[in-house]
Amino acid sequence: MTSTSSSAWARVQDSPWFWLLPAGLFLLVFYTWPLLDVVRLSFTNASLVAPDYDYTFDSYRRVLRDPSTLRTLKVTFLFAGGSVILKLVLGMALALAIDAGVKRGLHGIVLVRTSVLAAWVIPGVVVGVLWKILLSTSSHGLLNYWIQAAFGNSVGFLTDPDIALSTAILANVWRGVAFTMILLYAGLQRIPPELYEAARVDGAGAIARFRFVTLPTLAPVIFIALVLITIGGINTFDLIMALTEGGPARATEVVGLRVYQQVFQFMNLGRGAALAVLLLAVNLLMTLIYLRLLRINRKTD
């Protein structure tokens, strides 16, 4: 015999809300609410220290007029864009190399995969510190010593404003190329071998097979990786904080860094919030593109 209370309890479990409640609460309180609030704050002149504020468009006006906003956006997109290109090219090369190695039964694949992925596990701050040590122009800077020995003068990886952004991209690529590699490698596994066999029967060489079989079939995965890496690049904060702190001469100041400075160094919450909304808008735009790509993929699957 079942009591009505146990049956009622079972009915409660039939409702999705029973299962979603904890996660929903967390996301509502600690995500959705702050998200709305940051939009609200962006329309104020709030400061971190003074409790009172007024509603105004001033923050946006200031942010949009400020030439350094544009520079920051440019730096952010260059950083994200450079990372994307390098990660995709190198990730693809690695994925193909590992795929070919597995098919040929070569040794040491797991070692390669593990060591490449290891960089991805290291906290961004530590990645920044590692490269900062490595590329230093001080007496312990091993790489610069070798460069100097070979070419006669050292390179201001972290001190030259023209080079620092490239350095940041390099460190970011070092950290994230494995992720791209794994995504693409997974995509490669899903290409039916018959496609390659058919192409080979049709007389396609290795390059033609890559061009006409691999690339087109992998295109959806490539696009998805592209968007994911771009978003990751745009949101990067920790690595740059440790590596350059946005310097030299703000050459590596990405949006996240600027938001932080506006709020916590200049105490200007309103303007920081306006910048954060800008970052949010870029995030949403990228997500929209991502969803579009996912939908196209579903259709072609």
Partner: protein, 289 residues
């Protein structure tokens, strides 16, 4: 093992191609491991060696003095502990909260299903910096700044979207008829989750565990903004405290190096031990949604 796609050709051509592949592997491994190894070597140098010119890759003597110093004379132990605590609590909390949600998305049908999954995906893409600003104000007002409790709640929140998607992917792979059989056998939905789905989704739980640990260990923006007292900081931020200031100059570089190595070691160890599950989750399509 069959090697279906091995190029047919002369043995010489094949050997050349294999050599090329091994060369690529070597470059990849070198590129990845060199920075880590260089810093490991640096961390074993005596402070005085840092000034010697020319710099060398290997330290004059392999000694662990810097490590002993960093571990005993600085607050790094405290920071490590903070990181372990924050990571462990948020990982456990996040999985405990995400698993039921993933169950609902995988097994129940309701109208808000698709929109909610989409919102999760959107949240996953948003920089923590955006929500950290208001959270700072709330936490300040509530006196939660510098509290691990508050930070854990936020860690959990930002990891929920990804974890739900990940687990949903693994739950979806379990045939629903197993649930149904269990329900007919007399299990409630909660029992189905606990006795049937979770044991069968162990690889998924392992993947969720690893991803959460890695993310938690690397968290930066949130603790950077919400924690100020040095003794409450996780190691991911604490490392920065070892960076040489204007006054000390180069002398502390080996300590910074050692601290970096110590900071990455737990995550790295965990990864090497459990990497099978990471690769499985990444290649299984769970990440691509």
């Amino acid at each position: 093992m069959t090697h279906a796609n091995v190029e047919i050709g002369s043995a010489g051509g094949r050997r050349l191609a294999n050599t090329g592949l091994y060369a690529i592997y070597a470059v990849a491994v070198l590129f990845t491991l060199f920075p880590i190894l260089a810093v490991v070597m640096l961390s074993m140098k005596q402070p005085s060696e840092v000034f010697s010119w020319p710099p060398t890759f290997l330290p004059a003597t392999l000694n662990l003095d810097t490590y002993i110093y960093v571990l005993t004379e600085t607050t790094i132990g405290r920071m490590l502990w903070n990181s372990v605590f924050l990571t462990a609590c948020s990982t456990a909390g996040c999985i405990a909260i995400s698993a039921p949600a993933a169950y609902a998305f995988s097994r129940l049908k309701f109208r808000a299903q698709k929109p909610l999954l989409l919102i999760l995906l959107v949240y996953q893409m948003i920089s923590s910096m955006v929500i950290a600003l208001p959270l700072y104000r709330y936490f300040e007002a509530l006196g939660l700044l510098d509290s691990h409790m508050g930070v854990i709640l936020v860690y959990i929140t930002v990891e929920i979207p990804f974890t739900v998607w990940l687990l949903k992917g693994f739950f979806d792979a379990i045939p629903p008829s197993l649930d149904e059989a269990a329900r007919i056998d007399g299990a409630s939905r909660l029992q189905v989750l606990r006795i049937v789905i979770l044991p069968l989704a162990k690889p998924g739980l392992a993947a969720a565990l690893i991803f959460n640990v890695i993310a938690g260990w690397s968290q930066f923006i949130i603790p950077f903004i919400l924690i100020q007292r040095a003794e409450m900081l996780p190691i991911s931020i604490g490392v920065l405290n070892f960076a040489p200031g204007q006054t000390e100059g180069e002398i502390t570089i080996p300590y910074l190096a050692a601290a970096s190595i110590i900071a990455m070691l737990p995550a790295l160890t965990m990864f090497v031990l459990l990497q099978r599950y990471i690769v499985q989750a990444l290649t299984g399509g769970a990440v691509k949604g």
